[in-house]
Amino acid sequence: MRCLTHPLLRKLLSLPLQCVPGQGTLSKGAVVSPKQLFLRHSCSAGRGFVTATDMVNYWQKVFETNGIPEARESSQYIVSFVLGAKTFQSLDSKSLHTPLTALQQEQIQQLSHRRLQRMPVQYVLGEWDFWDLTLKMRPPVFIPRPETEDLVSLVVEEEFQKCENSALCFPVAAPHPVILEIGCGSGAIALSLLCKLPQSRVIAMDKEEAAVDLTRENAHRLQLQERIHIIHQDVSHCSAKQLLLWGPIDVIVSNPPYIFHEDMASLDAEILRYEDLDALDGGDDGMRVIKTILALAPSLLKVSGSVFLEVDPRHPDMVEHWLQVHPDLLLTLRAIHKDFCGKPRFLHIQKQSS
């Protein structure tokens, strides 16, 4: 970690050469720890105490100096977390101006040091939110991306449509959808679906034991463990039989690794150093796992059952073409949905009746 010794940087922090009496001057060339510099800064401000805003500003500058992306956001999330809030904007005026305790400052420093190692904020805090849920996060299990919240909406909508279309649309005879998630990671998709579809059950699968453990942990924290069955299995090596424990499946959902192999090297350090690359790398055309899922789907799905996939924006055409050259699968691409940035991101594929 580079320290703030450069005179230009000290100027940036508005540090005088001499601080309050008794502190003494810093001899040239000495390495100053962020803590010392910080105390001097707040002393020089004449207040003698440190607020949340001071901390955010300070660590933002440290992150910027050290080339850490999202410097301001990172420091805001860390400080808010230590104060028990989710975001800086949600803190009230009182919290922003109350002096921080020594323990709080220490906690912020510890977390910030992890961020200085390019650790993703979600791993630094050990938790992150996905729609209404707060989930534990732990490297190297894949961190849910915001786009994927829309994938959950699509599945929920589809189930509501079915309910509306069917004659049995009152609570007593509500359907009990069985959903299969392939590559559950932290459990974000599986657990969100369980919350939004109270009658549903989920079979969640991941080839990494760390992911299976984390999904299980999150399921228990949310008291959803009775409705989810978590399997440690690689979709490339599994049989349909293993997954039919609750009968034919209504929906298969997945955010499979879909990055083109050649694009892997250009990912941010946060991703390359800490996340499971197998959760990202989809092979040469990014389609390796997508194809595996689609090949397996017909033997698992009910007629008119659906597959919902998150993909790379280049994949919709490729998948459509692939399905056309594999007509025996009886799968049709029903819809392509865009993400909140307007990129084609989600595929809705349906099993036809033979």
């Binding site: 080339g67 949600s90 939110d129 865009k338």
Partner: protein, 161 residues
Amino acid sequence: MNVPGLFHFAFLLRGVQTPSWTRWILRKQQLSLPSVPLLQAERKNSLKLLELREAELEEQFVRGDGPGGQATNKTNNCVVLKHIPSGIVVKCHQTRSVEKNRKIAREILQEKVDLFYKGEDSDVFKEKKASEKQKQEKKRRAKENLERKKLFKEMQQLDKE
């Protein structure tokens, strides 16, 4: 000195006429179905506010000009929502979820737009006024109580002497 790395990404202005928008409205309607109680609680139903039309809204996200999706791990989930006819802009970063921020942004914007067009007739204004009146009443009563107690103590002192 290095270029400040404050903005490693650009704002993306997104028009509203994408399929993802119609789906959002549809989803919103479906989420208020009585048969699914576990979903997000309904906002204060007591307020009658002007409905916002998605076609009149413009939304911005800080997601960068990169590929997005799995290839990006940005944590800025701030949503900036503009109501085009009135020019009112709302910025929301209250939660760590994009979807929740979008929902909250719409709620806040709806209140502001209602205030803008209805002024003192707005339920938002009336509710604020009522709660302020309540607060002042409470303060007044508390002050009265304090003075009464003070007077009582003084009288007790006098009796002792």
